[in-house]
């Protein structure tokens, strides 16, 4: 979540004991639209590239690295290069990148590998996902800052 959005929400609702965030219908619609697209892309790839517990889950691995790279690109541009836009962030970041990537599937795949006694594969998969994901964010963040990209 963006820090400024967070602090806005905190100040708006700080008098209540349990704060409930302010809801913006257009923001939710943007998240829904992005989530629709991201989920379709991920599900289509997952359906066409099924991996067994002794195989490298290429579909999940690919969408996660691609989504991390895109999120680093979008968020850095939106925070540092473009005028603030809640809806772009909601559509591109929370919606598309959030739904294109998945954490739960990585965890279940890892558990299945361990259950199937493929512990080395499980460790390699988890490590490669984390290292690859961080590297992807690092690279696209750097790319945006170096290039000084405009709209």
């Amino acid at each position: 979540m963006e820090r400024s959005v967070k602090s806005e929400r905190r100040s708006v609702s700080e008098r209540r004991r349990v704060s409930s965030p302010h809801l913006d219908r257009q923001e939710l619609a943007a998240i829904f639209a992005g989530g629709f697209i991201g989920a379709l892309a991920r599900a289509a790839l997952a359906q066409s590239l099924v991996a067994r517990s002794y195989e490298w889950p290429w579909a999940t691995f690919a969408v996660n690295l691609l989504g991390a790279a895109l999120l680093g690109y979008f968020i850095t541009r939106l925070q540092e290069r473009l005028p603030p836009s809640l809806y772009r962030r909601a559509f591109l970041g929370t919606g598309i990148c959030g739904a294109l990537t998945t954490f739960s599937t990585v965890m279940v795949e890892t558990v299945e590998m361990i259950e199937g006694a493929h512990v080395g594969l499980a460790v390699a998969y988890a490590a490669a996902s984390i290292a690859g994901g961080l590297a992807a964010v690092f690279l696209t963040t750097k790319l945006v800052r170096r290039a000084g990209l405009r709209v």
């Binding site: 979540m1 905190r10 704060s19 989530g35 989920a39 294109l100 965890m107």
Partner: protein, 121 residues
């Protein structure tokens, strides 16, 4: 279920999963400090548990595509986990970075394994 309807449902459920993630994260973020991305951690751990249950009960085919891949897959997120970790590293908060990576991994694997067990897998 026809092909078009099935994939339309994948998109709609994926959109709803993304909204659920946003709402829980916003609720958690509004009630906790901004330094540690607790919202994403809770979303991801709870989603890993839920997907574990679906795998445990051996949900397959279109049912798994809709409930697992579409809803829970969209509800949890890998990219935000990585972005928030990267930003912690940039801010020099190495302990929080290590905690965010390790806790997510340990809680995620633990939650998925527990869910799978409870589901009967």
């Amino acid at each position: 279920m026809s092909f078009v309807l099935l994939w339309l449902a994948v998109g709609v459920l994926g959109g709803l999963g993304a909204i659920a993630r946003f709402l829980l994260d916003a609720l958690v973020s509004a009630n906790t400090g901004a330094r540690f991305p607790l919202g994403t951690l809770l979303v991801n751990a709870s989603g890993a548990f839920a997907l574990g249950v679906l795998v445990g009960v051996a949900l397959q085919g279109d049912a798994y595509l809709l409930a697992g891949t579409a809803v829970i897959g969209s509800y949890t997120t890998f990219s935000t986990w990585m972005l928030e970790s990267h930003r912690l590293a940039e801010d020099g908060r190495r302990r929080l970075l290590a905690a965010n990576v390790a806790l997510s991994l340990v809680l995620g694997v633990g939650a998925a394994a527990l869910g799978r067990l409870i589901g009967g897998g």
